[in-house]
Amino acid sequence: MSTWFSGWRLIVGFLVTVIGVPVVGLVLTWVDRFVSARVQWRKGPPFYQPFADILKLLLKQTIVPQGVARTAFLFAPVVGIAGMTLVAMLIIYSNFNTVVNQQSSFIGDIIVLLYCFALVPISFIIGASASGNPVAAVGASREMTLYLGYELPFVLAILIPVVKVTQQWGVASALRIGGLVAYQQQFGPLLYSVSGVIAAVIILFTIQAKLGYVPFDIPEAEQEIMSGVIVEYSGAPLALFRITRAMAFVLLPLFLITLLWGGLRDWWALLKFLLIVVLIVLMKNTNPRLTIHQALRFFWFILAPIGIIGLVLAFIGL
């Protein structure tokens, strides 16, 4: 493999992540709205609806209100979208490197992934705090509390496959996404065990919270605190925030499949992906919004103990 070839592959991967992932994410946003409409016995918007929304927002006036920390206010959406692009690069590059697959990335990239996912709530918190709006401040504090809530079970759920791979191949491959994928290609998906199911359930609930979908849309409760964290945003920054959410909507199910359900290297992954997406949308449509202390209690005192049980089971080898 020449350097020219690998450079070419890197460019294609970059284009896929920078253009492909947002486009697929926006289409998924339409899937979300369409399925919601069908649940409520409506017709639903046409497929180009999210693109029209984004286009309109990009070409609209951007208002920067008085009393705003201007740089932080306008820079916050970029932070979120940069984090999501990095996640997309890591996941897609680790899955589709031709030399399978252990060495495709660096040791500990799963930890880097964790921090990059954290950039999304951080960008929302920065933006909301910079906007100086009291409603946005309420949203930011809720976002922070929610993040503290879901990160503990999320980390526990990620540790479960890591522990299972460590028992066979050692830590060096267990902390790599490539290592996890290669392990699953050899021994079958990690999901098909008790601890794997526990991890998948925890990650599903966490996805819901990370995307800000309905049982956990507490930071931007539209009817309650007027879209909360993004209340002062208009025009292009708002579009960037929506694109960030759309990219997260692609990447979190991809992450779940990569981690637990056998990687993305076969065509079944597409079906699994759609299944997870529809599951998320149905969860969104059949639940009312929780209050913030209910959400925190749910994550810390129900999901985290379940995660610890799953971790113990993984140590035993189940």
Binding site: R42, P45, K56, L57, L59, K60, I63, V231, S234, L238
Partner: protein, 138 residues
């Protein structure tokens, strides 16, 4: 570029509901409009919680001296290619409050109005028709 912008605006008008001292009847009809029965989301219409996200203001009711500054503030907070749609006869021409001492006139005395939808209250179908006419005149 201008065509693209126009297409985007036409295909996804996000609305914000400004109730300036209405009798609540037009508001109820607007809520009816947004329910699954009329399903305006198939035209891209979404009710947003903040005027910063809005493209169209649905204004109802007669403006009085208390609510005029608030209405103006909401109008100034909206990013600018923005439609104002006056819903109900009160919003169009003050209706029975025409000679009232505290009514400060219909909306078009203070902010540019793009569509008038008379009725007390107007039917949801009339509102859809009015919005479509306003959009096709852009």
């Amino acid at each position: 570029m201008r065509d693209l912008r126009l297409w985007g605006l036409k295909k996804s008008p996000w609305v914000y509901h400004v109730a300036a001292a209405s009798c609540n009847n037009c508001d109820i009809e607007i809520l009816e409009l947004l329910t699954p029965r009329y399903d305006v989301e198939r035209f891209g219409v979404v009710l947003v919680g903040s005027p910063r996200h809005a493209d169209a203001l649905l204004v109802t009711g007669v403006i009085n001296r208390k609510s005029l500054p608030r209405v103006l503030e909401v109008y100034e907070q909206t990013p600018k290619p923005c439609l104002v749609i006056a819903i109900g006869t009160c919003a169009c021409n003050n209706h029975i409050f025409r000679n009232s001492y505290n009514a400060v006139g219909p909306y078009d005395k203070h902010i540019p109005v793009h569509a008038y939808i008379p009725g007390c209250p107007p039917k949801p179908e009339a509102m859809i028709l009015g919005v479509v006419k306003a959009l096709s005149k852009l």
